[in-house]
Symmetry: C3
């Protein structure tokens, strides 16, 4: 987790490399406008070419179940975009897919690295949808963090350990 | 302290429970619109039923003095709403009430747990009032933190110790 | 580094004082409007009168080279305003000056303390320029942090060590 351009994706990629497993990059971004197309291309160029790529904007739990394996490291980049896709898709999908993610995460084989954006430390947004998104992101982060062995916050490319695997 | 939906209120409630004292919840929220009514109701449902409840949107120092006692833990949720109420109430009240809080805090008997929102880590707001609020919140956090024995920042439900009571 | 009114300038000034060197304050702010004039005056009043003052909104690397010396501590406040001045000045200057800063920093004699604002932990701004600024600030922070011996994040006046000089 980290703020915008904090180096969180780079750290996640390093963690995935260090796992020694076959890395599958699970992209949640949708190329809806020019800015996103450029962002996706930039992220792609920064990744090792041998990594697998799966694109899934909504059904994340299914994609994780399909691709998880003892010799796989799944790198999800990022939860924030997935959440924002779900908010646009509607309440029913939002509820179902977030619940399915939380049900699925603890039982997956292999390794999973999740990237997400901190969005709740600025001023309260005036836009009700932005407020809703901020609240949902906060709740998701709490729920996901409680499922993870390790949680790292990234500031200026530097990791801050929030939760560490038991020794 | 923490961002939106970071789990800061839940941590504060846990700290209040662990104090072993009689907990009095000091709410600063004003139910001015539907969204706030829903938020207040949700917070209420998450609290133990036996806790006392005091509602005080402005005169926080007075409320703390009235209810503080060696066997009480006062849980204030939250300073950010209180500050925003004071900004609306006007400069004079803002000055007086923040000064009174800082004068009162160090001498209160029993235990006090304060919840506040980090709002200063986003982009500079274009709205001058939002900028003012952000500056006042930052100053208040610094002043209050210097009075407290323990300061914890919460990210994704996970505590980050900023200040610890001397052993 | 830290959010708005987090106490980051005060901590930086304390670090500069503790260096025991002659402090030169390098201000990047431009007094373009009343709010900035007031902010600059307030910052000035908080600084020791014997400190040197250099004002440079754009050519930061040059200013650092000119004033750096083994017995000097240069205190730059702040990188965020400098970056915002460069974004207004145009792409060419932005590219050149940020590159020059990163080239210059590692070889300067004496001590350098840099202040910068975390702006990437709020909701994604709707304004494209604000998004751009947020991205550039994040990239700059990563690059600068990798050049520094010590990086401290400040929350509510309390330091959180992100990077420490090797013992």
């Amino acid at each position: 987790m980290g703020g915008a351009r904090s180096g969180k994706s780079a750290l996640a990629q390093q963690r995935a490399l260090e796992s020694g497993l076959n890395v599958i990059y699970l992209a949640t971004a949708q190329a809806n406008d020019e800015e996103m197309v450029a962002r996706i291309a930039r992220h792609r160029a920064e990744r090792p070419a041998e990594w697998g790529l799966v694109e899934e904007p909504l059904a994340l739990a299914d994609a994780l179940k399909t691709h998880a394996a003892p010799h796989h490291c799944l790198l999800v980049d990022c939860l924030t975009l997935w959440l924002s896709n779900l908010l646009i898709a509607g309440e029913e999908q939002l509820d179902r897919e977030t619940r399915r993610l939380l049900d699925t995460l603890p039982s997956l084989p292999g390794s999973v690295v999740l990237v997400s954006n901190e969005v709740g430390q600025g001023i309260v947004p005036t836009n009700p949808l932005a407020r809703r998104f901020r609240d949902e992101a906060g709740r998701l982060h709490q729920a996901v963090a409680s499922c993870c062995d390790r949680v790292t916050f990234v500031i200026a490319g530097l990791p801050l350990i929030l939760k560490d695997p038991p020794a």
